[in-house]
Amino acid sequence: MNIVDLKIKWTNPIKHEKFIYKVDVNELYHNRILITLSLELIISIAIIIGFDLNFSQKILVIFSAIIIFLLTSPFFMKVWEIVLSNKRLILRNKYLNVGRFSSLISFNLNHLDTQISTPRIKVIPLITGFSIMFSYTIPLLEFHYTGKISLPMLVKIFFIFDNFIKTIDEIEQIAFAIMNYLLTPFYGVAIVFSLISGIISILLIVFGLPRRTTLIISSTGGHKLSINTGIPKKLSEYLSGIGRKHRVVYNKDWTWDLPLLDGEIIQSKAAVGLIDRKTQILGVISLLLSLESFNRFIVIFKDPSMKNFILLLITITNLSMMIISISFAKKFSRICTTNHRIMYQDERKVISGIYGKRIYSYSDLPYENIRGFSYSNYSGLEISIIPAIFLIISAGFSFSLIFLNNFVFIISIYIAIIFFALNYRTYTNLSFASLSGKIYSINYRLLAFMVSISHRIEKIDNLYNRLFPNLLSEGSVQKIVNNIHGVNNPVLDMNIPSLHEIDVHAFIDKDEEIIGKWEKMGHHKYHRESIILGFVISLITMIIFTFKIARPYNIVFLVFSLLMIIYMTIQKLVIRYNSFILLKNRLLYVVKTTPRNFARVFGILPVNKINGVNLEHLNLSRFKIIYGQGYKKLSIYLIIITLCTLFFVSSSNDSNVLLENAFYITIALVMIFSIFNSIQLIALLIPRYGLSLYTRFGEIMVSYIKDPKDFNIKLSKARGLS
């Protein structure tokens, strides 16, 4: 390429600016066109039908509609002129044939944060095309040849469940009869309509398929610039070269859309395939339901005719769509690091499912623009599920009392256990934040027992990779993070398969100087007194209330309060602490939960959360005395306790009505729960020193730190100030 000076006048060329590439593109607004066209059609048809017009008036209406369309036509399209120079990207846009509202944008490439390269997909035409095809063309064609119309999949599933309950098998036939009654008049025109809609849908689908890439770039300040149209591949290639001030290299082994740069070496990779189970299960169910259509494969051999051939084709398309929906229920995202930048690949799930080919969007980020990372790994329940489990058990128990049958109770316990196991998940997340505020994250969630199975079979590579493609191994996390910070010899190597918890030392180099270390900050490990006090108080209240409440429900109440006591003691036995490590120019912050063995038996697993922040993005550190933390909650709990005691004191216990007793129980349970929590909150009222660090990554809050002055001195030392 001959590099010449930029001489296009409207760009206002500056000193030392060289011309590299110029292209003109048109941005079409499909929504505007669709809306105006449909509005005009509806209004003009309404006028023609509504008012009794003669021929010349009708023509006038049509003529005025055309003129309105022509008048609004400039706003359907924007004409973009894009010029790339070695310093900036210059864009000029104007509406079609209207130069008045034109605007000139010049994007400074020195502040380029990321360039997202994603295929240009016209979503609206594509989806309308597919919906026309599968709701009109194929059913109408089927109707023409068989005289029957197939019910939608959801209706079929509904019928199956309905049959289980009611055992009436005529409903389906009644529905078919109604549909036949409605559709027989259209039997003659079905083929014509199916052909017309088929042509329209195919045209729309072909129009909507991705051919070129779009342009989305963002500055380090978070200002985004996007053109929703296809731009030539050459421009994005040149831009990725000039934006990173590097030469683009073409490598045949490299399949990503982002080109590699000169002297760039791929150092580590990580991939995660997130599976959407609901879509997968729905796809499998619909495959099972369409089993009856397999007989078409046999019919074609017995009676080979044009009709049977077309019906076979229809079944094949339907089946292929089902298989696609099953296989595309998995969404891939990948991270790749080189010696220069990280690259991120994210699948566009819905579109790749429609297209039948995996379609990705790519973005890259040089290491200068990364301000920190965060890694978290923990297993647990969502809080809303615990009451649900108790509800299931207690409901089963009460039913068993009413019907004098233990079977219901046992089944309810089994259901609760399954419910618990299915919702007990492990969440893992690795994310990087860029200067502009974009967050690149790669995460998965999996059932906790599945994760423990995966630990057992990880030595069998073949089986492991096949069963768990969506696991992010600790070794790859360490590699990616260390590549970014230039850590070559970490203190701790995570590639040993038996290690399943990343320590902070995995991200620190052996040669790196540790300036400050604050480990195990936080509350005291546990207050033995508070546990004993809580235990005694709750036992007393339990005994009082159990004797006060009607007989048949004593057991439920006893079980529940015992469970609460166990839960609370376990909570006290879990050690939660934070720790800091100050290194030269960066800060590592760890939030860790290590439960004692007794708590581990009850299923509380360790939580591990590591944040790394570059010190240049640490804006403010603040020490302050924190007191009266959680006093609002405490006051609410105290009010609840007083209300409950007032209720118990005032009410008599003569009646044995079932509902009233249930009311008693719930109030007593609420009271015990609030007593537990208020004891916990009283401990938080003690004033102490807290530290809060405001970073561009978010706020880090440490509720207790011993020596604030020491921290400040070391922080300035880490920044290289003293």
Partner: protein, 309 residues
């Protein structure tokens, strides 16, 4: 001429005398150079006249009905909008935007914005964004006005209020700002872009000045390496040629050979493509030099394409 004189008088009365360069001198910090300055005076005598008339009339009408206070408030707001002064100073380090209006004069306050040049990411010269405040106010005013007109029965007041609704329409038109072209600067750290000359419009020449200064400033900042210690060469013109080609070109003396190396390096082409690219030269000459280069073991033919070794 008459308008010009009136404008000068009014600005003189309200803002006093000022000299752009003198103000700029006071604003400069140590070692800072003043590059160019711009004063944008937005002045609308129609608005001032209308608002004065409305104000007087509404004071008269308040004796008749209390509804007439609303036009008074509108006229006050119109006066604030009718005169606005923007002083913009461009130095080699930053842009300083100072806004002066009647409200600022009354309250004796100052509004000054100072933007560092190397933090400007996107420059935009386009239609000024809508004045949303004014749009909302004028729309609400119109609705209230119509409601009042439909309620009251005094014919004179109705005429007066309907005249005011025209003024509100004028405000609406002003709030749309369809005719104004402003410079919008997207600065890192500020979410919304900073506008220059949103009410009056800014000249293209000032945009050129800013652009030149911004890129001049960046040109002097050298590209720093990362903290991680990995070093890679940064080239200002990355599409020119690669480091391999650079090393070879330094060795070679024949300018045509150098040119061929450059062409092969930049375009992924085969021999036919090379003929097309260098159509001014004869094929035999190209063949000869390529064979020489191959003999020197500088060029290799890989997958039917020429590659530098």
């Amino acid at each position: 001429m008459m308008r010009y004189k009136l404008r000068n008088k009014l600005t003189g009365i309200i803002f006093g005398k000022y000299d752009l360069k003198k103000i700029a001198k006071n604003k400069l910090v140590h070692d800072e150079k003043f590059v160019s300055g711009l004063e944008i005076i937005y002045y609308n005598e129609i608005m001032i006249f209308i608002s004065i008339v409305i104000g007087l009339l509404s004071i008269l009408f308040t004796f008749n009905s209390l509804f007439a206070i609303i036009p008074l408030i509108i006229s006050m707001y119109l006066i604030f909008l009718s005169l606005e002064l923007e002083l913009i100073f461009l130095t080699d380090e930053r842009i300083i935007i100072e806004k002066r209006g009647i409200l600022e004069k009354i309250l004796n306050t100052q509004s000054e914005l100072s933007l560092s040049l190397d933090q400007i990411a996107v420059l935009k010269y386009s239609r000024a964004p809508f004045h949303r405040q004014l749009l909302y106010i004028s729309l609400i005013g119109l609705i209230i006005n119509f409601i009042i007109i439909s309620v009251i029965s005094d014919l004179l007041l109705i005429l007066f209020l309907s005249a005011i609704s025209f003024v509100l329409f004028y405000m609406l038109w002003f709030g749309l700002r369809l005719n104004k072209r402003s410079i919008e600067l997207s600065v890192i750290g500020i979410n919304l872009p900073v506008g220059i000359g949103r009410s009056k419009g800014a000249p293209m020449s000032f945009l050129v000045d800013i652009q030149e200064m911004v890129f001049e400033r960046i040109h002097h900042i050298s590209h720093s390496d990362t903290d991680s210690g990995i070093k890679y060469q940064v080239s200002e013109f990355p599409l020119q040629f690669s480091s391999k080609a650079k090393a070879i070109i330094e060795k070679l003396k024949d300018p045509f050979q150098q040119h061929l190396i450059k062409v092969i390096d930049q375009n992924n082409i085969n021999i036919d493509g090379l003929y097309l690219h260098c159509h001014r030269f004869e094929k035999s000459v190209i063949d000869k030099t390529i064979q020489e280069l191959k003999h020197k073991n500088l060029i290799v033919e890989k997958d039917d394409k020429l590659v530098i070794k």
